[in-house]
Structures are given as structure tokens and as C-alpha cells.
Symmetry: C2
Subunit: 377 residues, 2 copies
Amino acid sequence: MHLFEYDIVAEDPTTHARAGVLHTPHGDVPTPIFMPVGTKATVKGLLPPTLERIGTKILLANAYHLAMRPGADLVAEMGGLHSFMCWPHPILTDSGGFQVFSHGDFVKLDEGGVTFRAVDYGGSYVHWSPEDNMAIAQKLGADIVMQLDQCPGYPAERSFVERAVELSSLWAERCWQAHDAPDQALFGIVQGGMHIDLRLRSLRHLEECGDFPGYGIGGYSVGEDHKTMFETLAPLAGDYMPRNKPRYLMGVGNPTTLVHAVACGIDMFDCVLPTRTARMGTAFSSEGRINLKNARFAHDKGSLDAHCGCPACTGGYTRAYLHHLVKQHEMAASILLSIHNVSYLLELMARARKAIIAGSYGAFVRSWDDLPAANDW
Amino acid sequence: MHLFEYDIVAEDPTTHARAGVLHTPHGDVPTPIFMPVGTKATVKGLLPPTLERIGTKILLANAYHLAMRPGADLVAEMGGLHSFMCWPHPILTDSGGFQVFSHGDFVKLDEGGVTFRAVDYGGSYVHWSPEDNMAIAQKLGADIVMQLDQCPGYPAERSFVERAVELSSLWAERCWQAHDAPDQALFGIVQGGMHIDLRLRSLRHLEECGDFPGYGIGGYSVGEDHKTMFETLAPLAGDYMPRNKPRYLMGVGNPTTLVHAVACGIDMFDCVLPTRTARMGTAFSSEGRINLKNARFAHDKGSLDAHCGCPACTGGYTRAYLHHLVKQHEMAASILLSIHNVSYLLELMARARKAIIAGSYGAFVRSWDDLPAANDW
């Protein structure tokens, strides 16, 4: 095995799904995989031993937030992100591009990078070049890092999306040139919105630029519906992306989307959805999403999800107790629902992987689509 | 052994400290002991497996809050508090009296009980008689429950404190008559403020009323200073309270006060201090209280407390990381500091118990008083 090689373990005969292993300096990552998000170097409510216990293999952290606080130099001084956040397993840091566009104010873009006002961090003006972005990524020291990119929303003018592809491509080149950490994989990011030709142009640019060990796919789950997303995602992943590189669909965490995206050949996912919805009292379940605040749970002696083996579902906590904790805004509600929701996605991907290896992923998707949960998208 | 018997294991030769064991239906409680507070049937930030892991032997929950939400009937329907909150070990519920006086509005008192407006719970008017209080306690089903009492603040007119003693005594009688759960111990509560004669009158009333298996001592740590508190607490506990009954100093959690109160012969303590201060970023430590928000910790690679063996101090988390988590208002900060602060008090009482059994508690107190932490009171 070589570092950052992606070994394909099995390919499903009736879908584009594949099971693989990505080798990183901090351990192997089995795919398909869901990556819980530790925005500011902590997954909200879940300490590292809990994340290990529920089967987390790789975490995501946000370069943007960490560069602002506590700063990449501080993290480097503390021995890098693994040491700083006490997570000795693989970590991926995003480029920060998405946060710049969603959290920043007065965003100005050019070939040289992005200038923005960091509204969440005292309102200071920040300029980031692709080279800055790579310097930050190398100081943070994750196993996998993402190029700086521009992520357009939806709907967007085609010309706007086209310019975002061009700019992202230029930034990809500069990131590729600037990045020189052999123990860290730099992934390029495919943009192009809901236009298959722009998606393919973006992919071709990246392939011409360098031999990226993996690809992010950005600019989905930004407001479009399920059908619109898969009209371009399915051919992009299924027919055009190189077979021997991991494909990471950025910022997507809806269970139904995960199941369908795996069928298109997607290998990696991340999203704040499981922990964010947990903090609002909502749990994934085999019945679909349920909000524990609902009065119908007040006397319910059942566990959160009878089909789940996570510590929140097997720990003796009833729905009635969870209802009480949610209503009273108790931290235990956020913690228990986060444990369950993250476990749910980890377990869903682990079961998907088994089905792919068994050659039965087509049936797996069909049986998922019969569940009430499939309608939650 | 008999249920709720208090076995004295050792008495220190130079102080009034004693080590004992209290037998309850859900297990033995070694004393002296600190009881973490799970106000609304959850210790904020700490799930039951974590509480077990750090050595918690008995929890406290608040009858007032639970009676308001989710209601004592709901808890009974769910199999009682042990089952509801997934804590199969001993539980003590307070009377709710303290909460009525601190959280209630328009409080009116008479022999028949207390009428108040529950400001935290929709502002409804509630009337509680001593009999109501016992019915709630029995529905909640804790191992140890407290009589309804009136807790005066400080400073207070002597005549006001005197009336509070009289009323608490009347309520003690009615609670004693109303309580009929053989698997549940009802403790009387000694009031009397900073007046030793009123404290002794209160104790005598209780002894005349019935054979309470233990005594709470209320109305301390309500604004008085350390010296004022011990002027009456020391003779009350050391010279007058019956030897063979556990003595529970209610609502006190300052480490120095615990060390000194044990020397007076106190056996049990509870307080929200360790978890509440944790949520504000403050940790107990051998250096005294430290606030992790302080910029001096930003680059500190040390653990929270080098002398502590709790999961927060041995898990690899640096003060720099905790500083970052506190500054960013991350749940992990509250969780880790709560783990440490609760562990700190549990461990302090475990060490005190060993010193008492070794007959060296006098030296234990002197060495404590030499620590910087002793000045935190």
C-alpha cells in the first residue's frame, strides 16, 4: 500500500457504488464513509472517546474557523490538529471557501484570492490567497486538505457559475504548486453547479493541473432539490470521474442523499446536519426524522430508535426522558441525540459498504426507498 | 445491616470527622461523600456512564423542578426516578423548599404549607402542603427524601429565623406522619440560621417528632462568611447531633468548606457549584480556582490539573485547548470542566475518608489549609 492510495475492495454489479480503503498517515479509512464535523476542533457535544466508541474513522474540521480562532500558528505550536483536539485518527480540513462565502461579508474575489470581513470574529478584514490557504492547511496538519474554491449557491446565473469554475481552477493550480507536505493529501474540488458541461470542464482542469489523490465535489446541497442534484451528480460521478481516486461529496448529510449518492459512486461525505439537528431535538430514525419535542413522546417508554444499537438507543433512555430533556434545554438532550444521529450515518455507511461487498447494493437502495425515512429529503 | 442504618467505620481521634457507610435500597453510600446535582433528572453535561466512571455513588435531584416538569406522576409512570434518569444507584431528592423560596414569587407560608407562583414554569400558582411534598417524594421514588422546610437567607432578623424553625418543625411532624414508604428514608432538616440556640431547638423538635434516619442541615451558605458559618455549624454537628445518624450539609460545595465541615462531623454534601462554575469556564485545581478563559492559558500545554487523575485531566486535553473551547462557547468545554470539577470533589471526599480511617484527618486539614486552594472560600 502507498500513502493516499485508494484501494477498491469491491464494485457493485448493478450500481456505480464501490467499497474501498483510503490509506492515510493516521490510519486507513474504509469507504463509503461519513465524516462527523468538528467545526472548531470539536464535534459539538461528543468527546473523542465517544466518537471512537460509535465507530468514527475520520473527522472533518474547518480551516476557516480554526485560522480565525485559535489561529493556525497556535495549532501548529500545539503539535497540529490531531494533538490539539486529541484525535489520533484521520482528519480532513476543508478549504474554508464555503465558510468565507456563507459567513463572510463584503467578499471580493480575484485570481490572487479572496478578501472578506470575518463577521463572526470581530469583523476584521482578511485576505486569503491560495498560498495562504495551503500554508494554513499545512500548519493545521490534517491528513487530507482541500483546495481554495468558490462555491456558488443555487439558483445562480450560468455565467456566474462558469466564472466560479474558472477561478476555482486557477486557485487549484496555485494550491497544487504551493502544497508541499508529503504526509498530507491535497484534494481538488469540482464545481460547476447544475451544469454537466461546467462540471466536466472543472474536472478536466483539475486533471490537467496535477495528479490530485482525490476529488471533492462542491456546490451541491445549496438549495436545489433532490432530482436536480442527481441530474448532474449521477453522470459526473458514475461516468466521468477517475475510478482510482476517492470522491468526496462535500457538505451532504441527508441519509437518503447518502444512500443514492453512494449508488452514483460517491465515497465520502461530511455534514453538520446530524449534530445541528440533534441540538434542535431532531433525531434520524427508521420512521424518518422525529422531533422529540413533540408531545406524543411525553409518555413513550420506547428507546429513541428500536433498530439502532448506539449508546443513546441502548443506554436505557426512553423517548419520554429525551422529550423531557429536550423541552428543558438540557445538554444531555444534545449529547444523546448527537450520539444517535452521528451513529446513524456511520452505521448507514457501514451497512452500505457491506451490501456493496456482497454485491447487493441495488437491493439495499430499493429497500431504503421503501422506508418512511426515504421521504425526508 | 439494616436499610438506612448508618455504620460508622472510623472516627478521627483529633477532629469530629467520621467515616461511615449508609445502606440504601440501591446500594451503599460511603461517607463523607459529595453528591453531584442532577436538578432536572440530569447532571448538566454528564451522562450516567460518565458519572459512574468518575466514582459518583449517589446523585441529588430536585423535587421542585421535577414536580413542575415533567411532573411526579409522569416519573412514577416511567418507573420512578432511577429508571427515568437511568441511574440505578442511590438518589436523594431535596424537599423543593429551597427552590420555592429562591425561584418562587409571591411566596405565602402557613402551617398548611406554601403557596407560590412558579415563575420558571409559566407563572402558575402552586400550593404545596407537607403531605403534597411527601406524595411527590414517594412518586419520584428516591432512596432518601427531605422534609418540607423553610430556609431563611442571611442576614435575617432573629424573629424571622425563629418563626422559620417553628414552621419547619410543624412541617417535619406532618411529613413524618405522611411518609409511609419503607424503602425510602425521610431526613429531617435542622434550621436556625446563625443562632446556636435556635439550631438546637430545631434539632430537639426533630428528635421529639420521630426517629429520622438522618438529618439535613439547611440555611448555611446563604450569604454568611466562612467564620460565621462555622461558629454555629461546628458545635451543632460536633457536640449535639446524634452520633449514629448521617448529617447532610445542604447546598455546600466549596472544597475548603467541605474539608472543614468534615472535621466538624458532616457526612454528606451536595452543590451545583462544580457543574455551574464549569459552564462559566472555571475549574477547581490544586492552585485554587482557575478560569480557563484567561489569556495566560492560550499557549499552555499542561493538563487542567497535573495532580488530578480524572478523564479530563488524563485525556490529553491541554489548557490551551480548553481555553480555545471555553472562548468559543463549545459544549466540550462545559463537559470537560464538569467532569473535572465533579471528580475533584468526589476525589477530595474519598481522600478525606482514607485519612479519617487512617486516623490522620487533623493533618489532612492542616495540609489543605497550606494550599493556595484553601483561600478560595
